[in-house]
Amino acid sequence: MVEQKLIKKQDELSLIYGETYRPGSFREQLKEILTPKYLLYILSPGAEDEEIERRDFEMNKFKSKRSFIRRLKAPLTIVGIIIVFMVSTWAVFGHWISFYSYRDLAVVLHPTTFQPPSFEHPFGTGDAGRDVWGRLIWGARASLTLGLTSITISVVGGVILGTIAAYKGGWIENLIMRMCDVVSSIPGLVLTIIVVSVMGYEVTNILLAWGLLGITGYTYLMRSAAISQRAMTYVESAKVSGASEWRVMFRHILPNSIAPIIVSVSFDIGGMILGLAGLSFLGFGAENMIEWGADVADNKSRLVNAPWAAIWPGIGIIITVLGFMLLGDGLRDALDPRTKV
């Protein structure tokens, strides 16, 4: 009876572990590990054994991956991931979730202006009789599109310029960095307003302007990370083995110095979305785009008798930014356990 149960348990465990599971005593397990080969490997510094090294490497990789995921599993990070998923769903399936079409929310003028929340309009209606709930859902589309695209432009541009500046040095570095100095010494919002006014108030121009002006920050970050790599021996050996300049820069230096950028990107997406909302709040957003910042600006004059119309869009901004920032904090903790924010 007991034996049968034990055999059953053993079968279950083998199913999980994929091979015949032998419990064995502690001594038996020790015997398996403590082969002379393994002892030699861990005790003498110069010893090499392909098989054990490979296993060791696999084990470490597995361990680090597992601890990365474990560290990522902090409750706040999970909240961040859920929020980002939720807002992405709003952005992609806006027309299904809100039951409104773009035409209803941005083009047609309804007679029902500034109505209080009711069964028909759960969050009330705002300027031009448009449903606040619908515009809250649809606003995710603009924010995410603008935020994600412009951060991509910034990161790609900044990484390329930063690597070139760090590797080449000399007048090229000076030129790039002084240009960054000039651009970054004008407060971001002011310069963006000017650039957007030059290019015209359209979605593509706005995200281009934000993306291009965001390059400076990543250039500084990338340069400071890459400049210490320039003197490394692996760079020298790559050069000696005949790798071209571009190959050294983008296949050797770049992967070794990109970590701080990856850490900061998710957090910066939040900042980018905040900045874009501020831009449209000041009236420099694209026309006819459903955007939270513009909604706040349009409805703020009716705060006394229709507060819902100005308050809800702002909550949309907060939720989105909070999601990306929590995710960014979690990523930073998981990737770089030394810094704790």
């Binding site: 004008i186 002011v190 939040g270 501020g278 709040f281 000041l282 100005a310 907060i318 909070l322 704790k340």
Partner: protein, 340 residues
């Protein structure tokens, strides 16, 4: 003495950057579609020849580089040009001196308040790590970083001004109150104090509380997060352990050994955040309808008022650069290891 030398050298280093900024904003402002007398999409009375004559009169038909050199020469001589569209023929300097101090005042009060509070909360949070106080501060701080400043302003307006009528909703002074009679520093609050108008001082301060609170809340959140992380880094170092081992009081360990070293990166961040304080001030002004830099700037952009745009960008950049230089000097004062 050497500190003075360092300051002067640091200031000289900013001159090329300032020239770059002037060049960039000049070119960008001239590249905007339309001109001060003819904005795109707005119907303007007046025939094209009249507009051409106006452009000719202000030298706006010359090649851009000639215009730039002329502008630069005039600027160095202290002639910043006249407003062309929003307040025709008014000297730009006069326009700015009325509006710009409001923004600067907001920015300076915010920076001072938020540095004082933010560093303290950051240190508290780091010292009491993973305790309820720390959790509370961190939660508030992450919300503070995520809240758009203009929305916070609107929320406070609704709750405190409209619902509870504790604070005035908009504006810089109660209607009917006079401006301070003499402008000494152009900062309204300080002028009121200097001229002894305490009633006006209290009224203005009353109007400033909400905007400064909004801006400070966001700055405090950012500074707290940064101070906390740099404090945590410092607290793990060896010399903290040796300070404790030699029997220092915990308060001295925190305030003398740890804080001084954690302060150095934090102060740098405060300097760099001054730019975002100014950006935030622009939005707060729009929310609270304070007639400052933000409204003037938006007006100037919409009307293509070239000289106003150039002068405003120059002023705000200048202030920002000065703040960064100040922080650098402060950095050298705090950290004796820095050689200047």
């Amino acid at each position: 003495m050497s500190l003075l030398k360092y300051t002067i050298r640091r200031l000289l280093m900013t001159i090329p950057i300032i020239f770059g900024v002037i060049f960039l904003t000049f070119m960008l402002s001239r590249l905007m579609p339309g001109n001060p007398f003819l904005q795109p999409g707005i119907f303007v009375k007046g025939n094209p020849e009249y507009i051409r004559a106006l452009l000719e009169q202000y030298g706006l038909n010359d090649p851009l580089i000639v215009q730039f050199l002329k502008y630069l020469g005039n600027m160095l001589r202290g002639e910043w040009g006249v407003s062309l569209a929003i307040a025709p023929q008014v000297d730009v300097w006069e326009l700015i001196m009325v509006k710009f101090p409001v923004t600067l005042e907001l920015g300076i009060y915010t920076t001072v308040i938020s540095s004082l509070i933010g560093i303290r909360t950051g240190v508290y949070s780091a010292v009491h790590r993973n305790k309820p106080g720390d959790a509370l501060i961190r939660t508030v701080a992450i919300f503070g970083v995520a809240i758009p400043v203009f929305w916070l302003g609107i929320l406070l307006q609704y709750l405190l001004s409209i619902k509870l009528s504790l604070f005035p909703t908009i504006g810089i002074a109660t209607p009917g109150y006079p401006d301070p009679p003499v402008t000494i520093t152009s900062f309204r609050l300080i002028d009121c104090l200097l001229t002894g108008q305490f009633g006006l001082f209290i009224d203005t301060a009353w109007h400033y509380i909400l905007p400064v609170f909004c801006l400070s809340f966001i700055q405090i959140a950012g500074i707290t997060r940064f101070a906390r992380s740099s404090m945590l880094e410092v607290l793990e170092l060896d010399y903290i352990r040796s300070a404790r081992a030699k029997g220092c009081k915990e308060r001295d360990v925190i305030n003398k050994h740890a804080l001084k070293n954690a302060l150095i990166p934090t102060i740098t961040i405060i300097g760099f955040r001054f730019g975002s304080v100014l950006s935030g001030a622009i939005m707060t002004e729009t929310t609270f309808n304070l007639k400052g830099f933000g409204m003037l700037f938006v007006d100037a952009i919409n009307n293509r008022d070239y000289f106003v745009i150039n002068a405003l960008t120059f002023m705000i950049t200048f202030v920002f650069i000065i703040a960064v230089v100040l922080v650098d000097v402060l950095y050298a004062v705090i950290d004796p290891r820095i050689r200047y």
